[in-house]
């Protein structure tokens, strides 16, 4: 008796790629949560130490842009899910519509974000020598603003590339399973980037507004 027994010659079976891809993506998403979690943790500690300055800083954020963008992202989550679900019924047209809508909403988000950044820069809300607010810890709040929204925007841009690739894949002669796997994984990533925004929005835009 040995550890290995050979019965009849078999061939290598493809392992379950769909499971592997989704599991791999979930694990990757866990790393993303830890990554943002580290920054949110620093935010929580420093806000606890400097409640007043963070309030003053938070008051200067552009709630209109933030709220609009939240709406845009939430809508994109719907269109992304639409695309992924349409793959179940092999509805290529609906898949493409969903992907195009998601892509467009993603671009809209970044455009709004760019306009907001422009306003922030005009109002001297970039930490440094010309920072507009007198409170030193308000400067720290704006540090978090730039780091968090900037990182999120980078993730959005990566997401756009992923959506673009998924669209391109619908134009290839792929097996439906392969396309579905790709859409599943892409939508997981997209939803995570959404979810992160849903934490950024309250901690950056809402907290401190009541003061």
């Amino acid at each position: 008796m040995s550890q290995v027994t050979i019965t009849s010659p078999r061939d290598w079976q493809e392992h379950d790629l769909s499971l592997a891809a989704r599991l791999g993506m979930w694990i990757f998403l866990a790393t993303e949560i830890l990554f943002f979690g580290g920054i949110f943790c620093a935010y929580a500690v420093l806000r606890y130490l400097n409640p007043v300055g963070f309030g003053i800083g938070g008051h200067e954020t552009e709630i209109l842009y933030g709220a609009l963008n939240t709406f845009v992202l939430a809508t994109s989550a719907v269109t992304m899910t639409m695309a992924a679900k349409a793959a179940d019924g092999a509805d290529y047209r609906l898949i493409r519509i969903g992907l195009i809508a998601t892509f467009a909403l993603g671009v809209l988000f970044l455009a709004l974000k760019g306009m907001e950044y422009h306003d922030d820069i005009v109002h001297h809300l970039v930490p440094g020598h010309h920072f507009a607010l007198a409170d030193p810890s308000a400067e720290m709040f704006w540090g978090f603003y730039w780091v968090l929204t900037g990182l999120h925007a980078i993730h959005m841009s990566v997401g756009l590339v992923i959506i673009g690739r998924a669209y391109w894949l619908t134009r290839q002669n792929l097996k439906l399973d392969e396309l579905r796997r790709n859409l599943d994984v892409s939508s997981l990533y997209w939803h995570l980037v959404d979810c992160i925004w849903f934490v950024i929005f309250p901690v950056i835009y809402l907290a401190g507004r009541s003061g």
């Binding site: 027994t5 079976q13 392992h15 599991l23 990554f35 580290g38 620093a42 420093l46 030193p136």
Partner: protein, 554 residues
């Protein structure tokens, strides 16, 4: 090594002679640099980490030469700071963290679970290039610009005061982190989805379990390091004062975030070593591993508790006494699974037919040195003792016993154990044993005096010291010279074996792991046909399996 055929191991699914080994699948440079074969990627990583090991080792030699005389032998204190920073950064991130997982893990994890490759082969080769280019970038930055923060990048020194390429070095390490994460994601997914028929969870070799536990720590801890390095870059480059007390920032916060990664990183470095030793000891004692399930649970416990002990690096940082007690208690808790492992390795030797080939030399060295490192760790986990010993050479000696005495010894154990499988060649056993012995002696001569130095009050990171410490520093430097020789020797006899070494059979150690049941070196697809597994990986003696004679009996 014995020539008696190990009759009960048929080496059955060995590839027929017509099947090429993975080494013969293309001989061009491109066939190596852009390969997706996990075995070739392992070789690429091995070359990469060897380069970084010798860069870090060179810095260590400069440190030991500097400390030969009380007033500093060769360099200024400023340059000394840069040298130990290079040593720390390179050894931790570019050697120890990737060392065993990316080389032996990459090579053997798929073989051990009977898979053809890892789950994401392309991600695997990408992770190598991210690692290599990121690490190279960092080293060039440190050497050209100089970083003098130590590998820990403590704020506010790293953010407000240090003049050097801190930003570039931090970005380089940030990038290398992606490679760690990719490897972790790959291994976890591979173990979950690609085990061959009959390879149940509790039939996994302990090395695979070690890789699994390590991967968990990699994917959950590395992102937090990335976040903390990013915040340093944000503060330095973009003027966002997160750690500046003047703006209400908190420098200690950085230590918390940093050690949230860097303490689990210690387990990234030691868990794979435990896995290697758990393979080597049963093979050369011809015994089943004692308490297999406890070994598995112990590793998972170490990985888990390892996340909640980071505060023991910060007993003197001014954190609350309550936090000190909490972290101290949990640090003691980690000793429990670690001790279970040491006892089980020892118990595995009991009544074994022990032979002392080179891998066993290294593995036994590991057990002894890891035990000393672990026990001194308990001393440091105790708050009152640690307050006295913080930032002394006692700490330096302690973690070198774990990382060098432990991890590096195990790395060499694994390298010698699997060398015939990887290359298909046999090395000179006598030279290997001599190197193992020299390494053990050199290591102890280098680092045991540092316990004494630290106990006597010698602080770490100083370029000069009072004359009364000189005796121990000279002893330590002498040991470092022996150690250097022991590290260079394998380059020669292993290199020699590639050209002149005897041809290795499929299973020269008569080991029972699945990786030995295929040709040496394995074919590209690892096995000629997918293997089917019928029982666990350690089947070395009659107590387990009547049909399996012991080596002595055969």
């Amino acid at each position: 090594m014995t020539d008696i055929p190990f009759q009960s191991l048929p080496e059955a699914p060995r590839a027929p002679a017509t099947v090429k080994s993975y080494l013969d699948e293309g001989h061009t440079l491109a066939s190596w640099l852009f390969t997706t074969d996990h075995k070739r990627i392992a070789i690429l990583y091995a070359i990469g980490i060897t380069i970084f090991f010798f860069i870090g080792g060179f810095a260590a030699m400069l440190i030991r030469i500097q400390l030969l005389t009380p007033n500093g032998t060769i360099v200024s204190p400023e340059l000394y700071n840069r040298i130990f920073t290079i040593h720390g950064i390179v050894m931790v991130w570019f050697f120890l963290v990737p060392s065993i997982p990316t080389t032996m893990g990459n090579f053997f994890l798929p073989l051990m679970i009977g898979a053809r490759d890892v789950a994401f082969p392309r991600l695997n080769i990408i992770s190598f290039w991210i690692f290599f280019l990121g690490a190279l970038f960092t080293v060039v930055c440190i050497v050209s610009g100089g970083v003098d923060t130590g590998w820990t990048f403590y704020t506010p020194y790293s953010t407000l005061y240090s003049n050097g390429h801190v930003i570039a070095a931090a970005i380089g390490i940030f990038i290398v982190g992606f490679s760690s994460i990719a490897t972790g994601v790959n291994f976890l997914t591979t173990v979950h989805t690609m085990r061959t028929e009959g390879m149940t969870w509790f039939r996994l070799p302990l090395f695979v379990w070690a890789m699994y536990a390590t991967s968990f720590v990699m994917v959950l801890a590395t992102p937090v390091l990335a976040a903390s390095l990013l915040m340093i870059v944000a503060e330095r480059a973009l003027g966002m004062p997160l750690f500046n007390p003047h703006n209400g920032g908190d420098p200690i916060l950085f230590q918390h975030l940093f050690w949230f990664y860097s303490h689990p990183a210690v387990y990234i470095m030691i868990l794979p070593a435990m896995g290697v030793v758990s393979e080597v000891i049963p093979c050369f004692a011809r015994r089943v591993i004692f308490g297999y399930r406890f070994m598995v649970y112990a590793m998972m416990m170490i990985a888990l508790i390892g996340f909640s002990v980071w505060g023991h690096h910060m007993f003197v940082s001014g954190q609350s006494p309550f936090a000190n007690i909490y972290f101290s208690f949990l640090s003691f808790m980690v000793a429990v699974p670690s001790a279970i492992k040491v006892f089980n390795w020892s118990a595995s030797l009991f009544r074994g037919s022990i032979t002392l080939e080179a891998p066993m030399f290294y593995a036994l060295g590991f057990v002894g040195l890891f035990t000393i490192g672990g026990l001194t760790g308990l001393m440091l986990a105790s708050v009152p003792v640690d307050i006295d010993l913080t930032d002394t050479y006692f700490v330096v000696a302690h973690f070198h016993y774990i990382m060098v005495g432990g991890s590096v010894s195990a790395f060499f154990a694994g390298l010698h154990y699997w060398w015939p499988k990887i290359t298909g060649k046999l090395y000179n056993e006598r030279a290997a044993r001599l190197a193992a012995l020299l390494m053990f002696i050199g290591f102890n001569l280098t680092f045991f005096p540092q316990f004494i130095l630290g106990w006597a009050g010698m602080p770490r990171r100083y370029a000069t010291y009072p004359p009364e410490f000189q005796l121990w520093h000279v002893a330590s430097s002498l040991g470092a010279a022996v150690l250097a020789l022991a590290y260079i020797m394998p380059l020669f006899y292993l290199g020699w074996s590639l050209y002149r070494g005897g041809k290795a059979s499929a299973n020269p150690w008569h080991a029972t792991g699945l990786e030995w049941q295929t040709a040496s070196p394995p074919p590209k697809d690892n096995f000629a046909v997918p293997p089917r597994v019928t029982h666990g990986p350690y089947f070395y003696h009659a107590d387990n399996d009547p049909s399996q004679p012991t080596k002595n009996a055969s």
